[in-house]
Symmetry: C2
Subunit: 139 residues, 2 copies
Amino acid sequence: MTGDERTVVVEREFSHPPEKLWRALTLPHLIEEWLMKNNFRPVQGHHFNLQGEWGGVLDCEVLIVEQNKRLSYTWNFPHENQEFNLESVVTFTLTPTDTGTRLRMEQRGFRPHQKQAYQGAKFGWRNFFSALEGVLERS
Amino acid sequence: MTGDERTVVVEREFSHPPEKLWRALTLPHLIEEWLMKNNFRPVQGHHFNLQGEWGGVLDCEVLIVEQNKRLSYTWNFPHENQEFNLESVVTFTLTPTDTGTRLRMEQRGFRPHQKQAYQGAKFGWRNFFSALEGVLERS
């Protein structure tokens, strides 16, 4: 990955402790409820897939696992058309607050010409965070 | 496509005339509101993409355009892993009723081993239909 790239950042405060957010970020059956079907494991180097409802699939690899603090994995979508081909990295950072946890999601790797993917991710992560909120309320 | 395949069918009654549903099924800016970003055109043989919020993309081709009655297109996701590789066909059928329109969506082409994609589509289309309901209320 060289040259210019754009980054999507979404931050939200949750009224739950970091341990509870960490569970939702790392347990496959909970990840599925707010993000996508998956075969995730919180093990550095583990390869996994995230599968969308409509049949699409992402290729991912775990990069960083710092329990209750930081989780990072690649979020790649290989495609022959460079408009769609995506090589990105998602990093979640959890910071304890007086009332719960601030969750920061950063997705970097969008190329300047990938405006649609970039805009889609901005919108998508807001939806994912709202779904995550629901999972935390129920779990 | 040979051998066994499974089909997802979702049907719902909408309190709007077929002409209004047809608009939502065929105008790109409306399709984007309930389904995905796209470069659709209601022209047989037109190739287009549906792009998910998270960066994934489907390859599609228009097969049937019968105004206000029937719309069909391929819904393909090429992937080297046969668990994910999907060659399917989506067909919408609009039937006028006393109070509006019955919309039937049929997606065929799931292979027997593609249980996750099949289950995901069943769930996904219910969500898409709910979003479509919202678009029809607003438009």
